[in-house]
C-alpha cells in the first residue's frame, strides 16, 4: 500500500500526492486522484491524438516536457511522473498544475475555465481573458479591497444537485508579473519566483477554506482594448462561443474522448450564467479599474 505524504483538495478533486504543492489546500478526504513518481511509456499505444509534446487516447494522456518530466495519465485517477535528470523541481510541478490539471478536470467532467474566481458575499464570479489581459492583476486589486480569491488560473465549474452553476475553489496563490506586484507597492524579493527564466512570482492568498463550492453568477471576459471603460452583455450562441474560447485546454477535449460531456456542460452553462465582456482601455489606471470591477461584481 503506497504512502502519500501530501493530501489536497483543489478544483473539486481530492488528491493524494508524493509531490508537494504549496499552492494547494491541504485537506484529508477520499482521494480520487493519485500523483506519484514512476516509469512512463515513451509513446501511447493507439493514440487518437498525437503531437510533438503530447498524445492521447480515450483512456490515457501523455505529456513530454524535456526540461521537466514525462507525465502519464494512466486513467482519470492516476498521474505518473517521471522527471528528467537535472531539472528544477518547480518546473516539474508547474506542468501538473496546468496541463495535467486541465486534462484531469475534463476527464472528471468538470469545466475548467481559464479564469480567476472571486468570492462576492454568498456567490462567486469569474474573471476570464487571454494571457496578459490582466486577470491576476485585477484579482490582486480586489484582494486588497478585501475580496477572497478562490482561484487564479483554472476555475472548476460544474452544475450542482439543483442544476445550478457552481465553482470549486482552487489554487491559493496569484501568479503575478513583477510589474503588477510593483504597481501595488510590493517588492519582488518578498515572493517566490515561479521559474528562473520568467519574471513571474507566486503571491500567496489567504482565505477562509471552509467553502466546498460556491454558486457562480457571472463570467467577465477582459478585453484590454477599446476607447472607453465599459461592459456589454453577451448571450446565446455568442456566450457559448466565449466560454469555449476561455476553456482551459479546449484543444484536448476531443483527443481524450470527452466531447459529449463537455458539450452538454458548456451549453447548459451558457444558458444559466451571465456573460459579460469588459472593455478596458490601455490608459485605465489600476485604481479606477479596481473600483469599476468592484462595482460590477457586486451589482450584477
Amino acid at each position: 500500500m503506497k504512502h502519500y505524504p501530501y493530501n489536497y483538495f483543489t478544483n473539486g478533486l481530492y488528491i493524494a500526492s508524493e509531490i508537494k504543492f504549496p499552492e494547494l489546500l491541504e485537506k484529508e478526504g477520499t482521494p480520487t486522484v493519485f500523483i506519484y513518481y514512476g516509469n512512463t511509456p515513451e509513446n501511447l499505444e493507439n493514440p487518437s491524438f498525437k503531437r510533438v509534446f503530447h498524445q492521447a487516447n480515450p483512456d490515457e494522456y501523455l505529456l513530454d516536457i524535456k526540461h521537466a518530466a514525462r507525465y502519464w495519465l494512466k486513467n482519470k485517477n492516476e498521474v505518473v511522473v517521471e522527471p528528467y535528470e537535472n531539472v528544477q523541481e518547480d518546473a516539474v510541478r508547474i506542468y501538473i498544475l496546468s496541463s495535467i490539471m486541465g486534462v484531469l478536470l475534463h476527464k472528471h467532467e468538470l469545466l475548467p475555465l481559464h479564469s480567476c474566481c472571486i468570492k462576492v458575499k454568498d456567490y462567486s464570479v469569474l474573471i476570464a481573458g487571454n494571457s496578459g489581459a490582466g486577470k491576476s492583476t485585477i484579482s490582486l486589486g480586489l484582494y486588497r479591497k478585501g475580496y477572497e480569491i478562490l482561484n487564479d488560473d483554472i476555475s472548476s465549474v460544474f452544475l450542482n444537485d439543483q442544476n445550478e452553476p457552481s465553482v470549486y475553489p482552487g489554487y491559493m496563490h496569484l501568479k503575478l508579473w513583477s510589474e503588477s506586484l510593483e504597481k501595488y507597492g510590493y517588492e519582488t524579493t518578498d515572493f517566490r519566483q515561479l521559474r528562473n527564466e520568467i519574471e513571474k512570482y507566486s503571491f500567496p492568498i489567504n482565505r477562509c477554506n471552509k467553502i466546498e463550492h460556491l454558486p457562480l453568477k457571472a463570467v467577465f471576459i477582459l478585453n484590454p482594448a477599446g476607447n472607453q471603460l465599459n461592459y456589454e452583455s453577451i448571450v446565446g450562441l455568442k456566450a457559448f462561443e466565449a466560454l469555449n474560447k476561455n476553456t482551459f485546454r479546449r484543444n484536448l477535449v476531443k483527443g481524450i474522448g470527452k466531447e459529449a460531456s463537455h458539450f452538454k456542460l458548456s451549453t447548459s452553462l451558457a444558458s444559466k450564467i451571465k456573460v459579460f465582456q469588459v472593455n478596458r482601455p490601455d490608459i485605465t489606471k489600476p485604481k479606477d479599474f479596481s473600483d469599476f470591477m468592484e462595482n460590477l461584481i457586486t451589482t450584477i
Binding site: G236, F240, E241, E259, A260, F263, K264, S271
Partner: protein, 92 residues
C-alpha cells in the same frame, strides 16, 4: 440535384442543446459547432423518425405558409446544406 423522395435521417454523431432559445449543434466527427435557426431546428425535430424530403417540404409549407417557389428556392437548398454538413444523412 436531390430527389424529393430521398429519405433522410438524423446523424447520431450530432449533439444538440438549447441556449436561451437558440439551438446549438456539434458534430462529434469534425468538432464543428452549428448555430441552428428556427427552421433548421424545426426540420431536426420533424426527423425524430426518418422522412422523405417531400414529407419535410409539405410540413414546412403548411406550418410556415410557404409557396412552392419558397420551398424550391429557400428550403431545399437549406436542407441540402444540412446534408452537406452531415447533420442529416441520406438513407440508401
Amino acid at each position: 440535384m436531390i430527389e424529393k423522395n430521398q429519405i433522410l435521417y438524423r446523424n447520431s454523431e450530432i449533439l444538440v442543446n438549447d441556449i436561451d432559445g437558440e439551438t446549438v449543434m456539434m458534430s462529434i466527427e469534425n468538432g464543428t459547432y452549428y448555430g441552428m435557426n428556427p427552421t433548421g431546428n424545426y426540420i431536426w425535430n420533424l426527423l425524430q423518425e426518418e422522412k422523405s424530403i417531400e414529407d419535410l417540404l409539405v410540413k414546412l409549407a403548411n406550418t410556415y405558409n410557404l409557396s412552392d417557389d419558397q420551398c424550391q428556392n429557400e428550403v431545399l437548398p437549406f436542407i441540402q446544406t444540412m446534408i452537406d454538413e452531415k447533420i442529416l444523412l441520406k438513407k440508401d
